[in-house]
């Protein structure tokens, strides 16, 4: 609770958190805000924005409501971004913890795999993965997580290496605590804060990757996403550019909010350390 109060104390954190809460509400209440399937044909095609009060942002080439698409797209973007980041951080924590705590050959082998994942462009990897398995929301989440877990793994390992030599870990070892218990109860909680600071950046990157994938037509075809809306609008870019511009603005606002939130978080954690 104090963390939240301190977070709101920084201007970045307050603005970021505010926008994110608003977006989360839009995502949660999407069916209430715009009932019905956003992919259904609602009006005559290519209605210009700001002309018809019942379709404030106009309609696309097939007569689908743009505002409804953006509202429902919030759901996909946030859900995929957060799920992929959670998966990436979970994998990264496990691998980093194992590598740092076990050391020796296990460490060596795991870190080579991390190296391998870091030198392959994660977007190409996601592209290959989705095209091979077939596009659906869970596959997109895994594809993004595959390209994102290496950074948290490396960071966790570095943290574990510095923590495992500290006195309280040594004393836990002396009183005969089981190694797994030491890893989970003594080391993990102390290695967590910097990894959490990284997590906001991973969420932002995941949202952008998801948008790029669905822009290239590799998203789930049954779900509205901002990326696929931009791609759809691209076909009539010359006559009605607004179709691509509105979902893009939604994307930028979301990602800016996540960055602001993460800056506020980093400041708050840094300040907490200085006091403590």
């Amino acid at each position: 609770m104090r963390l939240v109060r301190n977070l709101i104390g920084t201007p970045e954190g307050a603005i970021g958190l505010g926008i994110l809460v608003l977006l989360a509400l839009v995502a949660l209440f999407a069916p209430v805000l715009s009932p019905g399937d956003p992919l259904r044909i609602a009006a005559r095609p290519l209605l210009a924005p700001f002309t018809d009060p019942s379709f404030p942002l106009g309609t696309d080439r097939l007569g689908r409501d743009v505002l409804a698409g953006i509202i429902h797209g919030t759901r996909t973007s946030l859900a995929v971004g957060i799920a992929a980041a959670l998966a990436a951080i979970a994998i990264g924590l496990c691998v980093g913890l194992t590598a740092g705590f076990a050391g020796g050959l296990v460490d060596e082998a795991l870190m080579r795999v991390v190296d391998a994942f870091q030198i392959v462009p994660s977007f190409l990897l996601a592209l290959a993965f989705v095209s091979v398995i077939g596009a659906s929301v869970p596959v997109v989440v895994i594809a993004i997580a595959l390209g994102a877990w290496a950074d948290p793994a490396r960071l966790t390992r570095a943290q574990v290496l510095s923590i495992r030599e500290r006195d309280y870990v040594a004393s836990a070892r002396v009183i005969g605590t089981h190694p797994v218990e030491i890893a989970l109860r003594e080391i993990l909680p102390n290695a967590l804060p910097p990894v959490l600071a990284l997590s906001a950046i991973i969420v932002a990157a995941a949202i952008l990757t998801e948008a790029a994938l669905s822009f290239l037509g590799l998203g789930d075809p049954n779900v509205v996403t901002w990326g696929s809306m931009i791609a759809e609008g691209r076909n009539v870019l010359r006559s009605s550019p607004s179709l691509s511009i509105f979902p893009g603005i939604a994307l930028v606002v979301t990602v800016v909010a996540v960055y602001l939130f993460s800056e506020g978080l980093t400041k708050t954690i840094g300040r907490g350390r200085r006091i403590a």
């Binding site: 080579r112 795999v113 190296d115 391998a116 994942f117 870091q118 030198i119 392959v120 462009p121 994660s122 977007f123 190409l124 990897l125 592209l127 290959a128 993965f129 095209s131 091979v132 398995i133 932002a204 952008l208 948008a211 790029a212 822009f215 290239l216 590799l218 931009i230 691209r234 870019l237 010359r238 550019p241 691509s244 511009i245 893009g248 994307l251 930028v252 990602v255 800016v256 960055y259 602001l260």
Partner: protein, 312 residues
Amino acid sequence: MLLIVVILTFGLLESASGDAVDAYLLSIGGGDATVAQALRQAYGLDQSMMARLWVYVSSLATFDLGWSIAFDRPVLDLILERLPNTLLLMGSATAISFGLGSALGIVAGAKPESAVDRTLSTVSLILYAIPSFWLGLVLSIVFAVQLRWLPTSGIETIASGKEGLARALDIARHLVLPVGALALIYMALFLRVMRSGMAEAWQLDFVLFARSKGLSRSRIVLRHVARNALLPLVTMLGLQSAAMLGGSVVIESIFAIPGFGRLAQEAVGGRDAPLLMGIIVVSAVLVICVNLIVDLVYAALDPRVGASESAG
């Protein structure tokens, strides 16, 4: 390390249901089982996974990346044909973003928390949040569709018969928008890294010492603070090379540039596993090369690195 990349990607592509022969038969409107069998035999797709992995790795040692099924040409030829366009795109985007980003970062970091710093930091935050493909679209709406200053797509005017300098200028005109879209975003990243590095360097003892010596502000900013902040920026350049290569896939698709990234997209469309595999392997090699260069530059910039290595 490259071997791990090869094995992992191989495993990933193996898990696909349906192979290139299926996709090919579908595209020519179906065929009977014997045709499919003969095709599979010709491409070696009927052998076990381990046998094919062995064949792939051993032919890789002789720079043979296999045969593209969708294009019916050697994978290496295809990649080498497309690579220069992508390298040109990435190279100029890197140069511009690094130059502008570090310069603006010095301006912002020269006086942390000043009005200039705040403005630059805010602008760069927003720029960095913009998806590259959307920025590309917006730039092409403004400069190519509305103002008609620049071409919307392609790498050069087709069949213009231009030679030499005229051709180079033509290519440059086509590259302004894609390079701009890629460079603006990475410029924002480099600006932020440079700025935060400088903000930290102001607290360091040697900067305090330089200030107490009464050196001029511009001299401190350039020779002491900026120089120190440049090192993490160079590290960042190496780390971002993989992301930039990925970003060029989308940019190339928007501006219809026949490069490496578009090839990846075409490989995906044609379910062309050997081609996709080759693209991933070559991109890993590229990233390793960039990081090697970055390490060398790093050693040249920071004498401590070279010295400690020769001592150890």
